[in-house]
Structures are given as structure tokens and as C-alpha cells.
């Protein structure tokens, strides 16, 4: 039975148990048995007993099946094939899967692979059969158990509420699972990468060219992995972006919070939010097609040579993208400064701008710094603008008119397209991902801590 079919059956059985359970409880109640809860809670309880265990089993089975099938298929292959590297083995397994599912494969005639495909098909079919039987048995057993529980001794509402509470708790832990998942997925691949390329070479190396072999004797013989030019490029573009975003964002926030009339505020704020809501791919298109040629032409007209994919274009547009982010965070912290502060300063004869510069901004500074750190982390992690408007050339330069590349650009370039999963090239992307994650995580933790402290100060 297919997964969706099985889900449907479980759903029908669950609905059925609910109806039966509720009516049985209702009839018990009519016979003036004193029941603890309303009839529908007995129905819920029975339904939970039916659905939850079988769904868990189904999920576990479906998750484990591909992994087990793969290893069992590899087991049937001759020893010399099994001795291949993980990446090549993956290719072989994919090929076998293709043969089994009737897809296109170059080696369909290979008897070994045909046999393996046969084995794959058979074990998959039997796995599916056992899965259906096991799930259905568990489902029905759960239903019977749930229905048996319908008597005056069961505190159905309490049990149902406890089940719901457990469900809520599990849901709230998904955030933790996600973080753990991110850490595990980038960490493991990164460790494999650092087995092939030494950590020091990666972090301090000045040469980045993953695509071409420079020396034949080099690890993986596919280029060099010194990430300094990439880090420098990321930094350069982020600095340009912040140079645009911080002054514009901060001044916009100050103007909106302190000067603008409520009419201006009610128009300008949503318009700025639109700027924040535009997808980054649109900014990337704008940067590559409009801003970059503009900068190049402007540069050429005053005799400067500008790369067609200059760091300036990408940084500038990224800065524009971050303006509303800085402005709305600053707006929040500026409006959180108590009016009494302003009154105190104005009452001493300060002008409005003096009050803002000398009292409001210093008072809001922690919050603003926190906001700017969050914006920096955003600039570092921004992908589409730089992929479309910054280059691939890993130049180590601080000249904003040259092309540079960034961590995110390299991750995208290394991972798009079909590649063997454990080539150093692919693994390098995960190492870069690890660097990106760690850097932004540190920035975020510091920023959120600062902002939180700041909020508490005025609450």
C-alpha cells in the first residue's frame, strides 16, 4: 500500500474510532453511569490511541527504509564494487535505483547491477508489505485499546489534555531539533572536509580555486582551498552595505520617530516595509542589470576601470535592502526611550536635535548597536544579491571597484549542479557553511542579548 493510501486508512480508522467512542460514552452516560468527562473526550482519547502509535511507526519505518535498503543493496554487490569510495558507491546505488524504477541508465545491461536492482525491487516490495501489515495492526490494536478504556474509571479529559500537552512540548522542541540538525549537517561534512584539507590551510590560505587543479599532488587534486579571499570579499561587501544601511536607516528612524507628523509616519513606514518585503532575488536582478552597468559607466566616464561585477554594486544594493531592517529596529528602540528623558532635556533648553543627539541616541545606543549587529549578520548571510551581482573571482582586494566573491556565493556555486557528494569541492561548501553559521550565530547571540538587556532597562 502506498504511503498516502496508508495515511488515508489510518485517518478513516481514527475518525471511526472517534465516532464509536463518543457514542459509546454517551450511551453509558444515559444509563446514568457517572462518567468523569464529556463523551467527546472519550472519543478523542480513543482516536489518539488509534492514530498516534501507528503514525509514529509509519514515520520511523519510512525514514529508516531508504537507509536500510541502500545498505542491503550494497551488500549484494561484489566486493570490488563495495570497496569503492562513498561517492562512487552512491553513484552506483543511484544507478541501481534508476534501473529498478525503470528510469534511464547507461549500464542497464550490466548483470551485476541488474541483479542488484532485482534485489532492490524485491526488498522494497517486501518492506512495503510488512510496513502496511505492521502499521494496520498497530492501528487496530490502538483502536481496540482506546475503546476498551471507555468506562467510568477513565479520566478521559485529563488523559487527552496530557496528550495534547506532550504534543505542544514536542512541537516547541522542533526549534531545538532544527538547530541541532543544522549543526550536525554542517559539522559532519566539514569534519570530512578538514580530513582532506587541513584546517589551517582553509582558514589562513590565500589562494582559492576549487575548480581547477593547480598541483597534481594536492589533496583531491582539485584546486586549493584557502578561504581568506572569500572572507575578505564577504567583509568588503558587508562593510559597503553597512555604510549605506546604517546612516540611511538610522536617520530615517530618527526622522520618523522624532520629527515626522503622524500622517507622514503612517505613509512612510509601510512604504519602507515594502522595501523590506521585496525578495532578494529581485534586488539581485536590479543590481546586476541596472546598478552595476550604471556604476561601470560612471566609473569609466571619470577614467576608472570598474569590473562589471563590482563589489560596490552588490554592496550598494545590499545596503538598500538592509535600510528598512536597520530603520525598523532603531525605530523600536528610539520610541522605547521614555518621554521623560526628552522632557528633561527640552526643559533645560536643548533643541530637538540636541536632545536626540545627546540624550535619546546615547540612551538608545545599546539597542541600536544590537540592531546593527543583526543587520551585519544579515549582510554576511545574504545570498541572492551577491550570487547575481558579485563575481566568482576570489580576488584578495579592498578595492570596491573590483570583483570579489563571498562565502554564500561560493556555497551556491559549489553545490548547484550534480556532484559527487564527498568531493572536496562539495565538502568545502559545508565548511564555508559552518563558518557562516558560527559567525552569524555569535553575532546574533550578542545582538539579541544586548537588545534584551536594553528592553529590560526600560520596562
Amino acid at each position: 500500500m502506498s504511503t498516502s493510501m496508508l495515511l488515508l486508512v489510518i485517518f478513516i480508522l481514527t475518525a471511526l474510532t472517534y465516532v464509536v467512542g463518543r457514542s459509546r460514552a454517551a450511551s453509558l452516560r444515559k444509563q446514568s453511569t457517572s462518567m468523569h468527562s464529556l463523551p467527546r473526550y472519550y472519543g478523542y482519547l480513543a482516536a489518539i490511541c488509534t492514530a498516534v502509535p501507528s503514525l509514529i511507526l509509519l514515520a520511523l519505518w519510512s525514514a529508516a527504509e531508504p537507509v536500510l535498503l541502500k545498505s542491503s543493496t550494497i551488500g549484494t554487490l561484489p566486493a570490488e564494487v563495495q570497496a569503492l569510495s562513498t561517492g562512487e558507491l552512491d553513484l552506483v546505488v543511484n544507478d541501481i535505483k534508476n534501473i529498478a524504477t525503470g528510469g534511464i541508465s547507461q549500464s542497464a545491461d550490466d548483470p551485476v547491477r541488474a541483479a542488484a536492482a532485482q534485489h532492490y525491487t524485491e526488498s522494497r516490495a517486501s518492506s512495503r508489505l510488512y510496513r502496511t501489515i505492521a502499521v494496520l495492526i498497530l492501528c487496530i490494536a490502538g483502536a481496540l485499546f482506546g475503546l476498551k478504556k471507555i468506562n467510568s474509571g477513565t479520566r478521559a479529559r485529563v488523559a487527552v489534555e496530557r496528550a495534547i500537552m506532550i504534543g505542544l512540548l514536542i512541537c516547541s522542541c522542533i526549534a531545538i531539533f532544527t538547530t541541532v540538525g543544522i549543526v550536525l549537517s554542517v559539522l559532519f561534512e566539514s569534519l570530512r572536509f578538514f580530513n582532506k584539507v587541513p584546517f589551517n590551510e582553509f582558514v589562513f590560505g590565500l589562494q582559492w580555486s576549487p575548480q581547477t587543479a593547480i598541483r597534481a599532488d594536492q589533496v583531491g587534486s582539485s584546486g586549493s582551498f584557502g578561504a581568506v579571499p572569500i572572507f575578505a570579499g564577504t567583509l568588503l561587501i558587508s562593510v559597503i552595505a553597512m555604510l549605506v544601511a546604517v546612516p540611511f536607516g538610522l536617520m530615517s528612524a530618527i526622522y520618523l520617530a522624532e520629527y515626522a507628523s503622524s500622517t507622514v509616519r503612517s505613509w512612510a513606514k509601510p512604504l519602507l516595509e515594502i522595501l523590506a518585503g521585496i525578495p532578494t532575488v529581485v534586488y539581485g536582478f536590479f543590481a546586476a542589470l541596472t546598478v552595476a552597468p550604471l556604476i561601470r559607466d560612471a566609473g569609466e566616464s571619470i577614467g576608472l576601470s570598474v569590473a562589471s561585477e563590482s563589489a560596490l554594486a552588490a554592496g550598494l544594493v545590499m545596503g538598500i535592502m538592509i535600510i528598512p531592517f536597520v530603520s525598523s529596529l532603531s525605530d523600536d528602540v528610539i520610541t522605547a526611550v521614555p518621554q521623560a528623558m526628552r522632557d528633561g532635556s527640552l526643559g533645560l533648553g536643548a533643541t530637538k536635535s540636541e536632545t536626540i543627539k545627546r540624550v535619546v541616541i546615547p540612551a538608545a545606543l545599546p539597542g541600536i548597536v544590537g540592531g546593527i549587529l543583526l543587520a551585519v549578520s544579515r549582510a554576511i548571510g545574504e545570498t541572492m544579491i551577491v550570487v547575481m551581482a558579485a563575481g566568482l573571482a576570489a580576488n584578495l582586494t579592498i578595492n570596491p571597484l573590483e570583483a570579489v566573491t563571498t562565502v554564500t556565493v561560493q556555497i551556491v556555486t559549489l553545490l548547484t549542479g550534480d556532484q559527487a557528494f564527498d568531493s572536496p569541492k562539495t565538502l568545502a561548501a559545508f565548511a564555508l557553511g559552518l563558518m557562516l553559521f558560527v559567525t552569524t550565530l555569535i553575532l546574533n547571540v550578542i545582538a539579541l542579548q544586548i537588545v534584551r538587556k536594553y528592553r529590560e532597562q526600560y520596562e
Binding site: 541502500k70 526622522y255 544579515r378 556555497i411
Partner: protein
């Protein structure tokens, strides 16, 4: 107080006045300057927005129009290589292009050299044959007859007709030659060229030919992906928000969860793509390029956004409502599900829509999980290979043809249209159900 001290006092007072007066002019100038900077910042930001939207609209508008050429195509069995008795497969593979080319040659009988013929043939888009194919397959009896059809023109011709080709350049330097111009002008004066609304753009999948490329495939891909995202992230986010806001004990574990959620909201989206690649595709062996994986990744990414706004919505329900219900003997869970949650629902929905809008515009993580492949077919199930609208934009943006620049801008306009619609709904919900307690 002696007379002398009082005297000093009076002097000090006038001193203050004098000094303040002296400084006033400078201080007001500074005040004005500062205010001006603020205004400039706002105006500049809004100008960026205007320039962005206007430049994209100007580039994209022509893509909603398509130029057609009117031809009398003779569907003789000899050219097509089939007759009306042929089976479906043979009909599909018949040489419709030949028929179209013949009809073009009929219009301009003088054309004889190979080079000239090729120039002439480029008038009709390669997609023209599919239109013809569809007509014939619907009615095989047409074979042997002459049909009058409107067929889409090719990319270069369309470029010329829209004035994208600079005719003042020497002939060698442009893609559209003098003889082609003469022919097109003749057709135009005969009324055989017409511009209409480009329905192809909405009814076809991706293509290598700009005049045939449409966004239907990526729109459906986006729809399926968002469906997965919504069904996963909404219930999980609401459950999490309820737990954290209503039931969570104040302890270390709760703290860790909260810090975690806030951090996840600021993790770069591409990192979620790496997670999807390593966990969903490589570990759980889910299919690449599939909406199900895209939806999973995007729902993990949007969860924090929805959780944070849902918590804010729950928090804004005053405690007196909870007290009232508890006082009537409801259990804490009943209080939440019967009273608090319904009252918070508009706020939660607003947050969800904003989260979905974010997911709709997201590109980077989907590149990681292979949704960047060239896919012509419109996806219909969650495991079909698919792409989404922003990724389609990214792919088209890389292509050099003028036609694709238009298509990219047009696709952006469609994407922005959806986003504006979603955000407007969110704003509407917020305004309509906003409650002051």
C-alpha cells in the same frame, strides 16, 4: 542675603541670557541641518523603492504582450509526411515546421538562397509548430486543407517590432538584417502582424526560447511548496507559541528553547538549504528538486517568524479573560482553546501570512536542494521535480536574450503582485480585527 550677592546673581542671570542668545543662531542651523538629513534619508530610501519598481515595470510590461504573424498554412500530406488516417504518434511527429516554412516561402517567392531562407524562417517562433500540431491533432481532417493561423513571431523579429533593434547600426552589427526588415514591413502593411495579450506566459512552463517560456510551471511549483510549508509550519508554530506563552514553566529548558527560536529567526536562509541537502536529501533520501523538500526547508525557516508573531498575539489577550474562564471551572487547556486562541487568531493569521510571503520570495535555500534544474513540465504532485517563481527569475536573469530580460521582469512583477496581495491581506486582517483591550 546681602545686596552684593544679589547683584552677582542678577549679573549671572543676564549672563545666561546673553550667552544663550549668542549661541542660538548656530544651534538652530544645526537643528535644521539634522532635520534635513533625516528627511533626505527617508526620501532617498523611498526613491530607491520607486526606481526599483519603475525600472522593473518598464522592462517587464512588454512581456505581457506577444506579437503574432498571420499565415495561410497548407497542410498537405506530402509536406507533413502523414495523412489523416495516421495514428496519434505519427500525427505528433509530423513535419509542421515544413508546412509553416512553405507558407512563408509562398509569401515571398523571390527568396531562394539558403541564407535568405533561414532569415525568413526565423520570423515564426519554434513554438508555432506546436500550435499547429495541437490544431491538427484535435481535427486530423484538416490535413490537405489550407488553414489561416496566427503564429507567435520569433525572438529577433519580436525585438525588431518592439524597437529594441537599432536600425541605424550598420547591417553587419545587428541581428536583424535589411532584407528581413523589408519583409516584416511588407507583412505589417498587409495587416499580417498583430500584437495581443501574451497568454503563453501564463499557460506554459519554462523553455529555452524566450517567446515560449512561461511561468505556469514555477507558479505551480511555488503553490505546492507553499502548501507543504503552510500545513507544516502553521500548526507547529501555533502549538509552540501556545506552549511557550501559556504553559511553559520558567526554567532553563524553556529559556534554551526561546533563545533558540530567536536565533533561528536570524540564521541566514542558505544555511537552512544546507540542512535540507544534508538531512532530507542525503540522509532521508527524499527526491531532489521536489516541492516536498522545498516545503520542509521553508517551513523550518518560517517557523520562528510565525512563532514570534503568534506569541505576541497570545500575549496581547488580557489575563482577565483567562481568569474569567478559569473561574468558571474550565481547565487551563480549555481556557486556551476556547477563549485565548480564538481571540488571538487574527494576529496569528497575520503573522502566518507574512511568514508565507517570506517563504514565497525565498530563493537561496531552494538552490541548495536542486530546485534550480531546467524543468519544462508543470509539476502536479509533491515529489515531481519542480522549480519556484523566485528561482525561475534567478534562472532567467542569467540568460542573455533580450526576450528573457523582459520575461524576468514580468515574472518579478507577478511575484511582487502576489506578495503585495498577501501583505495587503495581512494589513486588512490586522486593521479589521485590531482590538484595544
Amino acid at each position: 542675603m546681602t545686596e552684593q550677592t544679589r547683584q552677582t546673581q542678577v549679573q549671572a542671570m543676564s549672563d545666561t541670557t546673553i550667552r544663550v542668545r549668542q549661541s542660538l543662531k548656530k544651534r538652530y542651523a544645526r537643528e535644521k541641518r539634522f532635520r534635513l538629513f533625516g528627511m533626505i534619508a527617508i526620501i532617498a530610501s523611498l526613491t530607491f523603492l520607486a526606481v526599483l519598481i519603475i525600472s522593473i515595470t518598464i522592462r517587464g510590461l512588454p512581456a505581457f504582450k506577444q506579437t503574432f504573424i498571420n499565415l495561410d498554412v497548407t497542410l498537405d500530406a506530402q509536406t507533413l509526411g502523414v495523412d489523416e488516417t495516421a495514428d496519434e504518434n505519427a500525427l505528433r511527429r509530423a513535419n509542421y515546421n515544413g508546412a509553416i516554412r512553405n507558407s512563408l516561402l509562398e509569401l515571398f517567392p523571390d527568396v531562394s538562397s539558403r541564407k535568405e531562407k533561414r532569415a525568413l524562417y526565423s520570423f515564426v517562433s519554434k513554438g508555432g509548430q506546436y500550435d499547429l500540431q495541437a490544431q491538427v491533432m484535435a481535427d486530423p481532417a484538416l490535413i490537405g486543407q489550407t488553414v489561416n493561423v496566427w503564429l507567435p513571431v520569433g525572438d529577433d523579429t519580436s525585438g525588431y517590432l518592439r524597437g529594441h533593434i537599432d536600425t541605424t547600426l550598420p547591417e553587419k552589427k545587428r541581428r536583424f538584417k535589411d532584407n528581413q526588415i523589408a519583409w516584416v514591413e511588407e507583412l505589417r502593411s498587409n495587416g499580417q502582424i498583430e500584437t495581443r495579450f501574451n497568454s503563453t506566459f501564463f499557460s506554459r512552463g519554462d523553455s529555452r526560447e524566450p517567446e515560449l517560456a512561461g511561468i505556469k510551471g514555477s507558479l505551480f511549483g511555488s503553490l505546492l511548496t507553499l502548501l507543504v510549508t503552510l500545513t507544516l509550519s502553521f500548526p507547529i508554530a501555533v502549538a509552540t507559541a501556545i506552549y511557550l506563552e501559556e504553559f511553559a514553566p520558567k526554567n532553563r529548558w524553556t529559556d534554551i528553547i526561546e533563545v533558540n527560536i530567536n536565533n533561528l529567526a536570524a540564521v541566514p536562509s542558505i544555511v537552512f538549504g544546507l540542512l535540507g541537502l544534508a538531512i532530507f536529501i542525503n540522509f532521508f533520501q527524499l527526491p531532489r528538486s521536489a516541492p516536498i523538500v522545498g516545503g520542509l526547508v521553508l517551513s523550518l525557516m518560517t517557523l520562528p517568524t510565525i512563532i514570534i508573531s503568534a506569541r505576541a498575539a497570545l500575549k496581547s489577550v488580557p489575563p482577565s479573560i483567562r481568569d474569567a474562564a478559569l473561574g468558571l471551572g474550565a481547565s487551563r487547556l480549555q481556557v486556551v482553546f476556547h477563549h485565548v486562541l480564538p481571540l488571538a487568531m487574527p494576529g496569528i493569521l497575520t503573522g502566518t501570512i507574512i511568514g508565507m510571503a517570506q517563504a514565497l520570495g525565498e530563493t537561496a535555500p531552494l538552490l541548495m536542494i536542486g530546485m534550480v534544474a531546467f524543468i519544462v513540465d508543470v509539476p502536479t504532485t509533491l515529489t515531481d521535480p519542480a522549480t519556484v517563481l523566485p528561482v525561475q527569475i534567478f534562472q532567467w536573469a542569467d540568460l542573455p536574450e533580450k526576450g528573457f530580460v523582459e520575461k524576468t521582469s514580468a515574472a518579478i512583477m507577478v511575484l511582487l503582485g502576489f506578495l503585495i496581495l498577501m501583505n495587503a491581506t495581512a494589513v486588512f486582517l490586522r486593521r479589521k480585527f485590531e482590538r484595544k483591550w
